[in-house]
């Protein structure tokens, strides 16, 4: 990776974090109603993984998916507009967070159904395989999906047909308010992919370079026609399941330990150690991104709400 690329990775993570803080602000102000799920703390996975993808590669995401949209290149205005339910939103302000998708970036999107988007990613991979393109499809999902039957069915099919798909489980230890370990049998989550002969691994999801390296291998395998991979990234959400969640079910010791692994300052230290940035550069990056997101927010907040004429369009193509 060139120094510029290394710094870009940092920018992406910071952009995601600042964006999430902005969303939180608007939510608290009542402008982004509904349940809002932030990925603060988990930025390394979308930033690191998607940095190795091409624009024509497909992704599917889940309810904690703002970061993936940003990393895949969605317009911040349109993204925020959607979360503010505006007509200028990336989905005309009707999808809101649970259905965020972006056809312009081949982001098939999020779903309100646990595990619902996983087969869609495999389907896009099948399309790539049938067409003979070397596109890759990546499905991002949370640990709660591990217990959905459809996940299991799709892993089997991806293995049988050697589909160019990467399954990325973002294990943030909690499915909503329930500790995942209490509802997920077996010793290691990765075994659920390994039983089908799918190369499977568990990695540090707080280390953006480790994520990127694993992504390069898995995406490379898929692009070369060598079939699917199943990766579990251990990560942690610093926020609640949604913004209003008080997180009483979490242990404060545990929270402190994970906060010490915050991917952003740790990566900043690494960049400094490598000589790619100094304190001034870091400060400048933060200031630029603050301005960028603030400008996007102004545009988004000025967009009109959809009206009755927007209700019945696009039921059918």
């Amino acid at each position: 990776m060139s120094p510029e690329d290394c710094v870009d990775l940092y920018r992406t993570m910071v952009r995601i974090r600042v964006f999430e803080e902005t969303v939180r602000r608007y939510h608290i102000a009542g402008k982004a109603p509904g349940l809002v799920h932030l990925c603060t703390g988990q930025e390394a996975v979308p930033a690191g993984f998607i940095s190795v993808l091409r624009p024509d590669d497909y992704i599917t995401i889940y309810h904690r998916g703002h970061g993936h949209c940003i990393a895949k290149g969605s317009s911040l205005e349109a993204l925020l507009g959607e979360l503010l339910h505006r007509r200028g939103g990336v989905n005309l302000g009707r999808a809101g967070e649970p259905h965020l998708c972006d056809p312009a970036t081949n982001n098939i999107g999020s779903t309100g159904i646990v595990g619902g988007s996983v087969p869609l990613a495999a389907g896009a991979a099948l399309a790539a395989q049938l067409r003979g393109t070397d596109q890759v499809s990546v499905s991002f999902f949370g640990d709660g999906v591990l217990n959905q039957g459809v996940m299991f069915e799709v892993l089997n099919m991806a293995a049988i047909w050697s589909l160019p798909v990467v399954f990325v489980c973002e294990d943030n230890r909690y499915g909503e308010f329930t500790e995942s370990a209490t509802v997920t049998a077996g010793e290691r989550y990765q075994d659920r992919g390994a039983v089908f002969g799918i190369p499977s691994d568990t990695l540090d999801g707080m280390d953006v370079l480790a994520v990127r390296e694993a992504a390069e291998q898995a995406v490379g395998r898929a692009r070369r026609g060598e079939g699917p991979s199943f990766l579990v990234f251990e990560t942690y959400r610093f926020t609640g399941h949604h913004v209003s969640d008080q997180q009483e079910y979490k242990d404060s010791e545990e929270m402190r330990a994970w906060e010490a692994r915050d991917p952003i300052p740790n990566y900043a230290r690494w960049l400094a150690d490598e000589g790619h940035v100094d304190d001034v550069a870091i400060a400048r990056i933060h200031a630029e991104i603050d301005d960028e997101v603030e400008a996007a927010a102004k545009v988004a907040d000025s967009m009109p709400h959809p009206g009755p004429e927007d209700l019945g369009t696009h039921v059918f193509a």
Binding site: N91, G93, A95, G123, S137, V150, H314, F316, A317
Partner: protein, 328 residues
């Protein structure tokens, strides 16, 4: 020039439509359980694997939810799959992907993504296949905005509707009553399209309108014959597609005749028959000489028993009796 009309079976007509579209459009593929080398449990994919091969006629594990969801993903990526769910009973297994994903992706993406797929499935009672392989579950998806539904009654309609369904940019559910598979009739050669949402008057009449779907069209035609013998002229209307429903043709016919019976192979309660009866009762209110009647399957599971399952299929006798009651 003398033209002999070619007669082929409904099953052959559906396969012909698929094969013709597959030749025309390389972005199409067929996916389902036992549809490849085995050519389907009813031989309803005969010849497709031989012509189009493993890559375009794909056998899946017995994993309906995953397999269907995967097909939705391929459609979102722009392909035009035909996905087979062996029996409409198994729609229960794909409900999430169908209702929460396939039906909504176009709308919720703000029109950016389309889901051009055909879900082909078998309905109907017969052959003693029991309660979980005999249902006619088309009222379920009809309830979900974003899905289109077709149900052919004749070989020609079967070909035309399938062609239209494959070319449609929306998820279209295509229901075939497996007891009509061997029904023969004239079918145009080459491109033949029956637009979704256009009903067909299968028999002209003036005294009563019989609105029937799929195989029930033939029950209605049989009843119309019997009624003719009694001096009652019955018009038989086949909506051909359930969504969109050609309400104009239905209401127009009932406004002319003043009487209507809806015949539906699914369960009567909360079914398609209820929808049509309510629509017609509202739309032709001022013209009705008698209440709109419904005939559907009774409210019990389909028994795995030859004599008992016969009770689950509306008969021409029942239709005649209902019509006679209107005059009684």
């Amino acid at each position: 020039m003398q033209q002999t009309e070619r007669q082929i079976s409904l099953k052959a007509a559906v396969i012909e439509a698929i094969a013709e579209e597959f030749r025309r459009d390389p972005e199409t593929f067929y996916i389902g359980e036992d549809v490849g080398v085995a050519e389907g449990i009813f031989k309803q994919t005969q010849g497709l694997h031989a012509e189009f091969g493993d890559r375009r006629v794909i056998d899946t594990p017995i994993s309906e939810a995953g397999m269907f969801g995967l097909t939705v993903g391929a459609a979102v990526a722009g392909m035009r799959p035909v996905v087979e769910i062996m029996f409409s009973d198994f729609l229960t297994l794909v409900m999430d992907q169908l209702v929460n994903h396939a039906a909504k992706i176009h709308y919720l993406s703000g029109g950016g993504f389309r889901v051009p797929l055909v879900l082909r499935t078998a309905i109907g009672v017969g052959g003693v296949l029991g309660s979980t392989h005999s249902q006619t579950l088309y009222a379920w998806p009809a309830h979900v905005p974003g899905l289109k539904l077709a149900a052919p009654s004749t070989p020609a309609d079967a070909k035309g509707l399938m062609t239209a369904a494959i070319r449609d940019d929306n998820p279209v559910l295509y229901f075939e009553d497996r007891m009509t598979y061997n029904l023969k009739g004239p079918v145009p050669e080459g491109e033949h399209i029956v637009e979704l949402g256009v009903a067909d008057i299968k028999r002209k009449g003036s005294d009563v309108t019989l609105i029937a779907f799929s195989r029930m069209v033939h029950v209605a035609l049989e009843a119309a014959d019997a009624l003719a013998a009694k001096g009652i002229s019955a018009e038989v209307v086949d909506p051909r597609s359930i969504v969109p429903l050609d309400t104009e043709t239905l209401i127009d016919s009932v406004a002319r005749t003043g009487r209507a019976v809806v015949i539906d192979g699914g369960h009567e309660s909360y079914g398609i028959g209820a929808e049509v009866a309510a629509t017609v009762s509202e739309g032709a209110f001022d013209y009705l000489d008698a209440p709109v009647m419904r005939i559907g399957a009774p409210h019990n599971p389909v028994p795995c028993s030859k004599p008992l399952e016969a009770m689950m299929v509306p008969s021409a006798d029942q239709v005649v009796a209902k019509v006679e009651r209107m005059y009684g």
